[in-house]
Subunit: 450 residues, 2 copies
Amino acid sequence: MKVIKFGGSSLASAAQLEKVFQIVKADKDRRFVVVSAPGKRHEDDTKVTDALIKYYKAYIAEKNVADIQNWIIDRYRGIIDDLSLGQGILERISKSIIDLASLPIEGNAFLYDTFLAAGEDNNAKLIAEYFKKNGLPARYIHPQEAGLFVTSEPGKARTLPSSYDKLEELRNCDEVLVIPGFFGVTTEGQICTFSRGGSDITGSIIAAGVKADLYENFTDVDGIFAAHPGVVKKPHSISELTYKEMRELAYAGFSVLHDEALIPAYRGKIPLVIKNTNNPDHPGTKIVLKHTGATIPVVGIAGDDDFVSINISKYLMNREVGFGRKVLQILEELNIRWEHIPTGIDDMSIVLRARELTPIKEQEIISQLTRHLEVDEVEIERDLSIIMIVGENMKSHIGVMAKAAEAFSKHHINLEMISQGSSEVSVMFVIKTEQEKAAVRALYDSFFNS
Amino acid sequence: MKVIKFGGSSLASAAQLEKVFQIVKADKDRRFVVVSAPGKRHEDDTKVTDALIKYYKAYIAEKNVADIQNWIIDRYRGIIDDLSLGQGILERISKSIIDLASLPIEGNAFLYDTFLAAGEDNNAKLIAEYFKKNGLPARYIHPQEAGLFVTSEPGKARTLPSSYDKLEELRNCDEVLVIPGFFGVTTEGQICTFSRGGSDITGSIIAAGVKADLYENFTDVDGIFAAHPGVVKKPHSISELTYKEMRELAYAGFSVLHDEALIPAYRGKIPLVIKNTNNPDHPGTKIVLKHTGATIPVVGIAGDDDFVSINISKYLMNREVGFGRKVLQILEELNIRWEHIPTGIDDMSIVLRARELTPIKEQEIISQLTRHLEVDEVEIERDLSIIMIVGENMKSHIGVMAKAAEAFSKHHINLEMISQGSSEVSVMFVIKTEQEKAAVRALYDSFFNS
C-alpha cells in the first residue's frame, strides 16, 4: 500500500496529468494520491495558489472579483477541455470558486485558509474525475471525510493525534482515493492550512495514518544530488539517504522537501522515495530510517551562506557555572534562534543565521554581554558559510576528517570553526562565504571523484 | 621592577635558601620577594603547612599541642642554625607559633586560616633576616602593612579592589620587601587565606599592584613542556606562551601554575616567567599577553581523561527556540558544570568531567530530558579523554587541522567529537581514553618531530 504525492509542476497541464495517470495506474499499490494545486506551466506562469491569494485580497477589499474568478476557472477549464472531461466537473469547480465570494469576512479567522485550500481541493476533484473517466476506480475525498483533523491555527495547522486512527480506516476503501494536500479541517469544520508548501505534509500524514509501505513523493527532479548542481558539475544523485542525513542536508541548503513535512512519516517509520514525474523510471532517492547494506561514509556535501557568529571571550569563562546558559538566555529573550556553539576554554562562538540578528538586537546583545556578563571581548563576525559533510556511516570510517581537512588545506581555505557532535552524522565547518563554492567543490572532488 | 615568587620546595632547606639568595641578589630589579612556607626536603618529609593543620586540629580538640609545636619550631630552627641567623629570629618565630594556641576557638571563623598562614608568615620573617645578614637591604612586610586587603571569606579570600592603590605605594620602598604568600587581611584585621597553593596568587596580586615589569615564578621545573613528560619522551620546553595558551594547556592537564592565580597579573598585563630555582640559568617559559615575533602554529599538546558525554538527539531539535538553553538550565539546577557542546543539527552532546555526574544526577538528567524536553534519545558515553592542540598562531596557519586529523587517522584513532571556536587558540578532540596516550604521541610527533 503506497501513498503517492504529486507537486504543482507535475499537475500544471493536461500533458503532465497524463504522466501522473500512467504512474498511478502502473502500480496497483498506489492507492492514495495526494495532490497540490496546479503549478506553473512555464517560467512566467502564475500558480493557481497565487491567483487565489489575489482573489482573496480583492474580495476583502470589496473590489470587483469577476476577473480573477474567471482567470482561475479558465485555468481549470483549460485542463478539463484538454482532457475532455465535460461540463459536470467544470460546473462543480466553477461553483466552488465563485462561492468563496459569499463567505463572511468579519470574524472569519479561516477565510484566507479557505480561499487558498480551494486550489488543491478543486484539483483533487478534477483528477479523480479524470482517473475515473480513464477506467481507474478513483474517488475524490475531502480531508473532513478522510478524518484529517487539525488544530485551529490558521496558516500553521497541526494534526490532531486522533486523526491517525480515523485515517487508518481509509485502508478499507476499494477505490484509489484522491486527497487534496495542504489543509485539514478543525473540529468545528473550518478549513485550516499547513504552512506553505504543505502538500508534502498531507502526504506524510496520510502515509503514517494508513501505515503505508512507502510514501512516494513525485517532483520534477531525479531525487537528491550529492552536492548542489549549481556548484558542482553533474553531481551524482543519491540512491539512499537516512532521515537524519536528509535533515542535515536540508539544513545546509538542500531544499527538495520541506523537512518538517517528514515528521509524521519519520515517526511512523514509513520509508519515502523522491522521484521525478518526468522521468519515472529513474529510481530516485530513497529515504529510510537505517541504511540497508554497506554504503559510503559520506553521502552528500552541502553549503549554505548568510551566517554570522557572535564571538565571546572571557578569561576563566569555563569556571563560571551557568555562563553558557546565561548567554543563551539573552538570545532567547530576544527570540533569536542559534545554530551551533563551538567552544574553546575561555571563548565561545554562537553561530546563527544572519536574518536573526537585526541591528537593534545586535546592540542589545553586545550591551548585555558586556554589562551583565562582563565579557572581555565580543565581536560579530559576518559573511560566514556553513559547510556540512553528511553521512551516518562516517562513524565507522576513520579518516573522514583527515580527508576533509586535507581538501580544505590544499585549497587554502581557513576553517574558522568546526563542530562535530557524537552522533557523527555530519561534520560542520564554518568558513568565509567567499570560499564556500570552492570548498564544496574541493570536498566533492575529494569524496566522490577520487 | 620585578616580583619574584618562590615555591615551598625552593625554600625547604638552608641549601635551597642559599640558591634563592643568589637569585634575588643577582638582579637589583628583584624588589618584591613572595614566599611560601617551607616545603618538603625529600619525598617522605612533612610540609610545614601540613604540620600546622595537625597543630590546629589538636588545638581545637583540646589535646596536648606541645609535640607538634616543637616539631614546627624545630623545623625553622634547623634552617636558622644552618644559616647561623642567631637566637633573635628563632625566638620571634617560636613565640608566633606558640601564641597560636591562645587564640579564641569559639566564634572565630578565621582560626584555621590564621594557623595555616603562620607557615608563610614566619618563613618570610626568616628569609628577610637571612637576606639582611648577608648584606642585602631587605625587610619583612606583613600583608596588613603592605595593604593586601581581602574579603571575609575564610579559605577563599578575594582581593578587595582598593588594595591595588595601596600596594602601588610599595614601589617607593628602598628595601627588598619579603612578603608572605597565601593570605591577606580583612578590613577587620583578620588573617584570611586564598585557596590552597595560593602563594602564586599573592605574587600575582603584588605584581599587578606595584605594576611590575615582570613576575618571576620560581618552581622546581625548567618551565612548561610542549607535552606531558610522562607520555612523550623528553618533550621540548616551551619558550613563550600566551596567557590564553597557558589557560588551554592548564585546562587539559598541564598543572605547573594554578591558573586562577594568574588573573591579577593577566588583568594588569604583567608578563610572567616560570623558572627553576635549581637551574636558574635556564630561560624557563615566558607567559605573555601577545606573542613576540614569529612562532610556530602549535605550542603544546595536552590530554586529560575522565570526561563523559551526554548525547541527546531529537528530530527537528534545531527548530525549537530555547531547547539548548533548557538543557543547560537542567544542568545548572543540578549544579553541574559543562565543558563543551558540540552540536549537529538534531543532536547535541554535552561534554563534562566525570566527577560532575553522580549516579543520582545522571538519573535526574535522563528523566528530565525524557519527560520535559521529550528527546528521542539520550545516552551517556563514558571513558572519554579530551585532547587539545594549542597555539594562538594556528589562526594564520592553514593546514593545522589537516595535519592533526592525518595523525589521528594514521594511528586509527576515531574522533568522537570535535570543537574549534572562532578564537582558534585550540582545537579540541574527544576520543576514547584508551587511545589518549597514543593520540598525544602521534600529535607530538606530527607537530614537533617532523
